[in-house]
């Protein structure tokens, strides 16, 4: 997949930073007036990527078919959004109790430069042990983002960089079909029932 240059207008513009976008999974080339169904995450059977978890295991989307699955995109260098999402998810899993043992739960990094398997393992050790962290080549992460219709972009910032990325948590049924999205920082009163519905 070719790396595209693009700018998300109205986002990150305050910093005035030069935005240089990484692959945006083909999302941006789509006409937004097309039918909404076109923008829904694909079923796992139609996705194609190969990533590595923090324990060194290779993970492909077809591995997730057979169990309900929860996936989100993030990066460990962000002190606000990602710990909040991980903390939310850890709380949901705790509330679901043993039902959560049947779930695949994965964070896919959008910052493979810094988020190696080792870094992910270190970071995730502070959260619910059922959450796995996935990294890989930029190309594979773009392929994953494309399947989820997720987006991410790298922004230069103060001699460093930060990542903008899709913030919602994706839920899939055990047949591998997309179920729903839990919005960023959504109240657990809504989040936990959504997960229960996906578990079925």
């Amino acid at each position: 997949m070719r790396i595209r240059r693009a700018v998300i207008l109205g986002i990150g513009g305050v910093a005035g930073a030069a935005a240089f976008a990484l692959g945006l999974g083909g999302w941006r080339t789509r006409n937004r007036s097309q039918s909404g169904a076109d923008l829904l995450p694909l079923p796992f059977a139609d996705m194609s990527f190969s990533l590595t978890d923090q324990r060194g295991n290779m993970v492909r989307p077809e591995d997730w078919i057979g169990r309900p699955t929860m996936v989100f995109f993030g990066f460990t260098w962000c002190p606000d959004v990602c710990p909040t999402t991980l903390s939310d998810i850890s709380g949901w899993l705790e509330e679901l109790g043993t039902d959560a043992d049947r779930l695949n739960v994965a964070m896919i990094t959008v910052d493979p430069e810094r988020d190696t398997t080792e870094v992910l393992g270190d970071y995730l050790s502070h959260f619910d042990p059922r959450i796995i962290g996935l990294t890989g080549t930029l190309e594979e992460i773009e392929r994953a983002a494309s399947g989820f219709r997720a987006r991410f972009e790298k922004l230069a910032r103060d001699d460093d960089y930060t990542m903008n990325h899709t913030a919602g948590v994706f839920l899939f049924r055990s047949d591998g079909g997309f179920a729903s999205i839990i919005d960023y920082h959504e109240d657990r009163r809504f989040a936990v029932p959504k997960i229960r519905r996906a578990i079925g």
Partner: protein, 157 residues
């Protein structure tokens, strides 16, 4: 029942001590200053606080400074069309009679260039600079990386 579980979780993650301190200077009250532990000193840390302006004129938080980090700045997490970004906040308005929270998922202090890793139980001073109220310093308590905030509701309510 669910609320009980949630409260119990928070209690185990946050200690109701330093982060519950209140500093008042003139019409400005600052409280619930907390941060999250970091893994190493290379990653940026975060700073959260609640600010209340009891005065009759508006003010604004225009900067933060701390010996804990060489490059602290104000950010605002914004989620637009489900994309999370965190642009700089040049100035955070604190309207007359209003409270503003720097809290997970919104305004936050972003502490780049950490002097050392932040560990649970550590604390460090943070000086907040207001357009009108000037400088006010508060102690920031470092909570768990999983913390969503200090539990300070024990007195009163």
């Amino acid at each position: 029942m669910k609320i009980t579980v949630f409260t119990a979780l928070i209690l185990t993650l946050a200690s109701p001590t330093l982060a519950c301190e209140t500093v008042t200077s003139g019409e400005m009250t600052i409280e619930n200053a907390w941060s999250r532990a970091t893994i190493g000193a290379n990653r940026p840390a975060v700073f959260y606080v609640a600010i209340t302006n009891a005065g009759s004129s508006g003010d604004a938080l225009i900067g933060i400074a701390t010996p804990a980090a060489s490059m602290p700045m104000l950010h605002q997490t914004v989620v637009t069309e489900d994309i999370a970004s965190m642009p700089h906040a040049m100035s955070i308005p604190i309207a007359a009679g209003q409270s503003v929270q720097l809290a997970p998922g919104g305004y936050h202090g972003m502490l780049m260039g950490l002097t050392e890793a932040l560990k649970v139980g550590d604390n460090f001073p943070m000086t907040l600079t207001f357009q009108n109220a000037g400088d006010i310093t508060i102690n920031v308590e470092v909570l768990s990386i999983r913390a969503e905030g200090p539990d300070c509701e024990s007195d009163g309510q």
